[in-house]
Symmetry: C2
Subunit: 463 residues, 2 copies
């Protein structure tokens, strides 16, 4: 299941490179090859430039990552990072209206952007000799965004419609929003990335201008270029276009620490839907929040997720969907790379004649089994191969490689972590998978949302 | 059950005047007498002064109310209003250390303060000719608070201990905190008044200074004096002491609108406790948020609460505690006067041999009965008499009268509302009680917290 934690300006559903088809056991040698080198330089104003050359085709990807996303938003302004991302396509004085995107597409390139919990990122895919114009325009809108009132009113309507289509009309997305809002009491991941509808409605020009000024500083950004380019040339070009933008102090968002959860939380959600649906979330640590000596836990949680839901042979699709036929679909996901501690999420849609209640029993039985018995070496190897193959094949996409560099850097992990991932996964043992299952996937740390289809809207008005 | 939504600097449990013993049917004529007049004047700097003369004894109560409380707090700074309240007793240059309270007590007076969701208030009870010094000191600490680092470190420890004693070591209070945090997803009442422990720990001097500067403005305050005083003299005295304090713009807290709840939320809480315990909260509107023509709903919800839990003859104590003997205690409460929409709360502790599960069934059966059948005229009269008698007897306390004036004024209702309360309650019909039960006490709007006693602390560490 794709949960909506990423939003982008043109409503392309979640970045498709996450879902490349994978070959399970046919692990190529490339898996163990050294990843290409990343060259970095930090400009005087704090902008970090990261370049990974790849000469296979005469193209390049530029991504500009800002360290601001939904998790930085204050209450009453949820969704503002994403609205600002939309407004970034509404022009500056020099490049008015939609001339940014028109310029890129007139060069045969593509551009877009996405907003997540921890970041907002803008990207262009271009011929390798056309980066200068992309940099010029990015540097321009980092400083000189117009944010015209008339454009804002239009974009707010677009975003509200996006929320209706992608959250309110999608039972799984509504359930996911409830899951996070209920699991987190003092943690910004409780806030939806798209924002609460009432907050979106009240975002104004001044707030957006303040948000842009506060966060869109060169010292709060990472510029990533991957492709057929020369790092030195890129550094010079970055200096030329971004070098004159002044650094300014970025006040961090307030730290919020989630209180320890002390028991299961269950939410019923009566909304229009075709079938029942079940979501379970467990509070789990992520790599960026674990001390170095405990980072194996994050790898083990990833492997556990892959054992449940990594390819057709994994437990959830095999057991619940194909063998027992009680579920139409069942999946698991875990946010290894999040900046803040997050949820390991299981979900299942019952097949006709079956219920969400059965899904809950089946999923909890899977967790209980992971806690009671170590997984077999065969299964572990298959899961490991899945995870690593996924990573390796994804390397084929320039955009994905830029994404990994930018995301790891922006989330505080550092791009170098990518080079440790294969070793991290390979080191996970069956005992470790069992240990994290016992430690984190407990009833104390669990939140469950059940969707009950409502055919007639009989929800009472809000008080 | 007293839920901790009010905190004061010296940890006196919730203001005792709420719990005066009441005579159910012996409604005195005073109930229908005109309440004493309130004289008001607004100084040029925006400070509103409200005076209610009462010559029965040569004493006076002064209360200074600021329009800031837990509901105004940003995430990461929950509890800051209450910490500031504590620091207000730590001195200024002119009245250093604890000389404020020492001065008041050397005059035979008493002083304290309390912090709620919607306000922070300071009060003194003094001889009627000693108000000048109280005003002088209040005006001084409105502007010149020291907020010394050493004092802050001490007070933070005091407040953390207060949180341990009053929330973490009290299962009912922990459950209430969970109830609010789970019921509200985008509403400041989800935040505890005392603050999350991790937030309290990180409150610093600069934040407190900013909080004090931002909110402690004369134009964000109401000064209430009740007692044997002459209104004109009080206005002059207020002008003398507060008149020179400059008005300044107070940026309001962001508005947050709670999304419509679409199904029951159930929380299990495994904590050290003697017995199981059950809390149910329904999202309900409050008077301040209802349009004038719908305010009867708030009165009807109050009457409904009194029918369930207003004196020994009311339904919960009679049926659950005395007749069926399944509950050791059972109660109901509703926040008629809150600034923002809140919860109507039911709770019950099972008697030995009974369970929280039975409490839930019994309480839900009570709600179902209120929805299915109108209450009898006799019951309605008894509940009305309870509510009105409560109000009338409470009038006997100067402090309570000042409290009602200050609270109604600060919460946006206006002190005049008090004079309409009796008529409001008297107008409620059995059909209206049934109507609000049907409209608001639904499964869609319900959140339940169940405490399961945990004898050994086996909660896993936080991720």
């Amino acid at each position: 299941m794709n949960f909506p934690t990423l939003y982008n300006a043109r409503m392309i559903p979640r970045l498709s490179f996450f879902f490349l088809p994978l070959l399970a056991f046919a692990l190529p040698n490339a898996a163990l090859a050294e990843p290409s080198e990343v060259f970095t330089r930090t400009l005087d104003n704090g902008l970090k430039v990261l370049v990974q050359p790849d000469t296979r085709a005469p193209v390049a990807v530029q991504q500009l990552w800002y360290g601001v996303g939904a998790a930085h938003e204050p209450p009453g302004q949820t969704g503002i990072s994403h609205v600002l991302e939309h407004m970034m396509f509404r022009g500056t004085e020099r490049f008015p209206g939609e001339s940014f995107s028109h310029t890129i597409s007139s060069l045969g390139g593509r551009d877009n952007a996405f907003t997540g919990r921890d970041y907002t990122a803008y990207y262009q895919i271009l011929g390798h000799d056309q980066l200068a114009i992309a940099m010029e325009m990015e540097a321009d809108r980092m400083q000189n965004l117009l944010l015209a009132e008339a454009d804002l009113q239009k974009e707010l309507e677009v975003v509200k419609e996006e929320r209706r289509l992608r959250t309110e009309d999608r039972p799984e997305a509504s359930a996911f929003e409830q899951l996070q809002a209920t699991a987190f009491h003092n943690h910004p991941y409780g806030q939806p990335v798209i924002g609460w509808m009432s907050d979106i409605s009240q975002i104004d020009q001044k707030q957006l201008r303040d948000w842009h000024r506060r966060w869109y500083a060169p010292n709060n950004a990472n510029l990533v270029v991957v492709g057929d380019v020369d790092p030195e040339q890129i550094f010079e070009m970055a200096e030329e276009h971004f070098g004159a933008i002044p650094r300014h102090e970025v006040t961090p968002a307030p730290r919020r620490q989630e209180p320890v959860q002390k028991g299961t939380r269950n939410v019923s959600l009566h909304i229009p839907a075709q079938t029942e649906y079940l979501l379970i979330g467990y509070k789990t640590p992520v790599m960026a929040q674990l001390p170095q000596e405990q980072r194996w836990e994050a790898y083990a949680l990833s492997m556990l997720t892959s054992i449940l839901d990594g390819g057709n042979a994994s437990r959830l699709p095999k057991r619940l969907v194909r063998d027992r036929k009680i579920a139409a679909s069942a999946s698991a996901s875990y946010s290894l790379y999040s900046a803040l501690n997050s949820l390991l999420v299981l979900d299942a849609t019952p097949s006709p004649g079956h219920t969400a209640e059965e899904m809950e029993q089946a999923l909890l039985a899977e967790i209980a089994e992971l806690q009671a018995q170590p997984v077999s070496e065969t299964e572990l190897q298959r899961a490991r191969a899945q995870v690593i193959a996924h990573m390796v094949y994804a390397q084929d996409s320039l955009r994905h490689r830029a994404y990994m560099i930018g995301m790891l850097e922006t989330n505080g992990l550092g791009w170098e972590v990518e080079q440790q991932l294969v070793a991290g996964y390979q080191a996970v043992t069956a005992a470790q998978v069992q240990e994290v299952a016992q430690r984190y996937l407990t009833d104390y740390a669990r939140t469950t949302v059940t969707v009950h289809p409502l055919n007639v809207a009989k929800v009472p008005p809000a008080p």
